[in-house]
Symmetry: C2
Subunit: 110 residues, 2 copies
């Protein structure tokens, strides 16, 4: 159940879900780098901290963008994957790549 907060504008509500410095990097890691585990996300070049990572995974799951399934017990550990809704962010992510490569000098490999 989505609670619209600032307005009914779709752009505003997309920003309320993924308009931060980290959420779409987790989406990138799953979508483009085929990473699925907590430690994989921590190992990315941007050095996300454990508390931000845990928070963003929780938010992305609550938003229905990712879903987790256990791959180990004692202690339980999860793998994260994109839902259909999350996978549909691919055009947005690809457009960010296009714009970034074109307009930000020094950018390169995703």
């Amino acid at each position: 159940m989505t609670q619209l907060k600032r307005s009914t504008c779709p752009i505003t509500n997309v920003l309320d879900l993924v308009g931060d410095k980290w959420s779409l990097l987790i989406v990138r890691d799953i979508l483009i780098h085929d990473k699925h585990r907590y430690g994989d996300f921590l190992a990315a070049d941007e050095h996300i901290t454990t508390n931000i990572l845990a928070d963003r995974l929780k938010r992305l799951e609550a938003a229905g963008i990712i879903a987790k399934t256990p791959y180990q017990n004692n202690p339980i550990r999860y793998e994260y994957d994109l839902t259909d809704k999350g996978h549909d962010l691919e055009p947005l992510v690809r457009e960010m790549v296009r714009w970034g490569l074109k307009h930000i000098p020094g950018t390169g490999k995703v």
Copy 2:
């Protein structure tokens, strides 16, 4: 001159420029609603505060996404418009509209 901070990933660097809750709403207002003045941006449904608006206009200008031209003196007031680089954000903004309308119930008019 762009200073790459977190990594050379284009997605990361796009997020470092516009990965917040407000910057792309200003781009939206110029691009879709043909708004160009400080008071127009303040009047949007999302009720941006004056300090956040002033900060984001400064950042967007520093990033080469918008440019300002004076339309009045005493006191001097500016109109803001997208540069070519800023206008090239249109596909990204349109893709956010598409995804939002499709996946976030209750969203509607931009």
